[in-house]
């Protein structure tokens, strides 16, 4: 479903991704771990199409299309979803209105019929229950004044409504209390399906106890320096990043 080959990307003239390769098949959950500043969020931003991230080499193929050639909104309509590490507050734009506009914009591009407000409300009610989100958040402006945990949950709630094919979760577990973490994990697990894939960026083994990954990768200094199964995450938890990826000359990270 997703094939990243030798991806190089720069931000403000500085090379951050330095030859990153990764393949994700339909239905798989991949965890990406790695030290601060390694380029994990940069990868998410490049995949979602954020301006200012210049790809200088390599390719990203998503369902046989060149993902990098698409505008961010076209990627979303094609099923790519990024749960932000730092969700943006948008005062004055109502959460429900925003989400319906987003869903209908995607559906329109895909040639599906748009949902009227009754149909949309029904969908939202279902998803709210799964995500343990209170109605009240829906009536507020997008993320405006939300607590850190509420913002993260709102990301997962949006994912549940938008039903992407490829979900990139950037530290969605950071800053969550233990109950919220379980609920978010539950939300992710509820969406796992043979057709849907996940890239989960995280610093903690804990999330992976609840959402068990098929693969774990270590991203250090702009590339994947080690890959393994879930036992790799346990090893990292114990020993840190020291000694990881020693077989790669450029891969050693602090």
């Amino acid at each position: 479903m997703l094939k990243i080959e030798n991806l190089h990307a720069r931000v403000e003239g500085r090379e951050i991704l330095k030859g990153l390769s990764l393949s994700v098949d339909a239905g798989e959950v991949h965890a990406i771990m790695g030290p601060n500043g390694a380029g994990k969020s940069t990868l998410g931003n490049v995949l979602a199409g954020r301006d200012g991230y210049e790809v200088t080499a390599g390719s990203v193929t998503y369902n046989d299309i060149d993902l990098l050639s698409l505008a961010p909104e076209a990627r979303a309509a094609a099923g790519v979803f990024l749960a932000f590490q730092y969700p943006v507050e948008i005062p004055g734009v109502n959460n429900t209105y925003f989400l319906r506009a987003a869903l209908n914009a995607q559906r329109k591009v895909r040639g599906e019929s748009e949902l009227d407000s009754m149909q949309f409300l029904k969908l939202v009610r279902e998803k709210l229950k799964v995500m343990h989100i209170s109605d009240e958040l829906l009536h507020r402006a997008v993320n405006a004044g939300f607590s850190g945990g509420e913002k993260k949950r709102n990301e997962i709630f949006q994912m549940a409504v938008l039903q992407p094919q490829l979900a990139i979760l950037d530290e969605t577990d950071s800053g969550l209390d233990i109950d919220a973490l379980k609920q978010v994990a539950e939300g992710v697990n509820a969406l796992r399906s043979p057709a849907r894939s996940f890239l989960m960026i995280t610093h903690y083994q804990r999330l992976l106890d609840y959402v068990v990954p098929d693969f774990v990768h270590v991203l250090a200094d702009g590339r994947i320096v080690e890959s393994g199964d879930k036992s790799l995450a346990l090893k990292l938890e114990e020993h840190g990043y020291a000694g990881i990826g020693e077989s790669h000359p450029a891969g050693a990270a602090a």
């Binding site: 505008a71 961010p72 909104e73 979303a76 932000f84 943006v88 948008i90 949006q158």
Partner: protein, 441 residues
């Protein structure tokens, strides 16, 4: 500092005969004096600080006919008078002339006096003397001078002490298409007695294309403990020049809330001068100006705190596109003795096109003690992070911009209590945006 008295604007206005005698000696004298000052001073140029960003050169080159003999018969589409959430007494002027047929003055609520100035002057003019015998001394007052010299009509509105009106009062000034470009004027006097309450909707509307010059001068007196909600919807014709001055005085414990939408007009200038003269008075001003095309919209807000523990809070937004220009000056003075006052003023602006311009200038002068004051102004573009967030969810660039811009302007309506009116005004703001068609449905 003045243009030569031979400028076509000046010549045409001074060519017109004085208004017929009002029968009130002091009023006729005030008209003559102000006319003489207007003739001597002419129009201010951009060296006059208050007109620095609003050149009047082009306006000065145009002649205007005075008075519209046919104003009483001009057809006006009644739909322009209808506003959701506003269904009460109404006073309508077309090209400055009172129109009884379009007004709604039957069965006025007890405690409300509402009549055209022309009628009020037929009765006892004495209560109007303070407002109408003023002599404007500064060259920057050119339009107030010509207004004082020429206005024969306008609004007289009084709310008796202790009367809290449940229904809003609507004042509508319509510029209607005519055979020539007209100069017309209106003079408004509004008083809220002690403990009175009033919601006032002031509308500037267009009936057909025209390029008139209109001047409006209004005095609003908010008595002790009185409450005023004042909404101004300016949607004049795209060719119109509209110069207004609103002076407010707030007495002890008075509260006034002002919401202004500046949408229409070619050359628009609004001076708001507020004085908080009584202890614990409070003024909240909110406004948005949205010039597009080649519009020029200038708002000059001046607030003086003159008494103890007075509060003012102002939040203004500007959105300019195409080759339009917005000007905002927010000047707050906390005078000696106005200890314990709290003044805040913010003006945020968005430029949607490279050819658009907004000049903003907050000013704060404090001469009292224990004062809390904050002011700031910004001019910028839309938040890139917010745009990317919306796009990453599937909303295309153009509607994402429209969504963010709409939210930016709508913020000034947040604390408007009349929900039906608020929704209507919000829809007008959105429709005014250059990317209106791009709004997600």
């Amino acid at each position: 500092m003045s243009q030569p008295a031979s400028s076509p604007l000046l010549a045409s206005l001074l060519d017109a005969p004085l208004p017929p005698s009002s029968g009130v000696a002091w009023l006729d004298a005030a008209r003559r004096e102000n006319r003489a000052s207007f003739a001597a001073g002419g129009l201010p140029d951009t060296r006059v600080e208050a007109w620095k960003y609003t050149p009047l050169r082009a306006l000065g080159q145009r002649p205007f006919a005075s008075g519209d003999a046919a104003a009483g018969a001009r057809a006006v589409d009644p739909s322009i008078l209808a506003l959701p959430g506003v269904d009460g007494p109404r006073l309508v002027f077309v090209n400055g002339v009172f129109r009884a047929d379009l007004s709604a003055l039957d069965a006025l609520p007890a405690g409300l006096t509402l009549q055209p100035l022309s009628q009020a002057l037929e009765g006892d003019a004495q209560p109007l003397r303070f407002a109408l015998s003023r002599h404007y001394r500064e060259i920057g007052d050119a339009f107030a001078r010509i207004n004082a010299a020429s206005a024969v009509d306008g609004v007289v509105l009084r709310v008796a002490a202790g009367t809290r009106l449940a229904v809003p009062v609507q004042l509508v000034f319509v510029g209607a298409a005519a055979e020539a470009d007209l100069a017309w004027h209106a003079r408004n006097v509004i008083e809220l007695g002690e403990g009175a309450g009033l919601t006032l909707i002031e509308q500037h509307a267009a009936s057909g294309e025209q390029a008139h010059l209109a001047t409006l001068v209004g005095d609003i007196e908010v008595g002790e403990g009185a409450r005023l909600q004042h909404v101004v919807l300016q949607d004049a014709a795209v060719g119109a020049s509209l110069v207004r001055r609103s002076s407010l005085r707030l007495h002890a414990r008075a509260q006034a809330g002002l919401h202004v939408l500046e949408l229409g007009g070619a050359l628009v200038r609004h001076d708001i001068r507020a004085e908080l003269v009584g202890d614990d008075a409070r003024l909240d001003t909110r406004g948005v100006f949205m010039p597009h095309g080649r519009q020029h919209i200038d708002t000059q807000l001046a607030i003086r705190h003159q008494a103890l523990n007075t509060v003012s809070s102002s939040n203004w937004r500007g959105v300019a596109s195409d080759r339009a220009r917005g000007v905002f000056r927010g000047a707050i003075v906390v005078a000696p003795g106005a200890d314990g006052s709290d003044a805040s003023l913010g003006n945020k602006n968005l430029l949607l096109s490279p050819g658009a311009e907004i000049d903003t200038k907050p000013e704060l002068e404090i001469y009292a003690d224990e004062v809390k004051a904050a002011h700031g102004a910004t001019v910028g573009q839309l938040d890139e992070r917010a745009l990317f967030y919306l796009r990453s969810r599937g909303i295309a660039l153009a509607p994402a911009r429209a969504l963010l811009t709409g939210a930016f302007c709508r913020a000034v309506l947040d604390d408007l209590p009349n929900e039906a009116l608020r929704d209507h005004l919000a829809a007008l703001l959105i429709a005014q945006l250059p990317m209106a068609a791009e709004q997600p449905s």
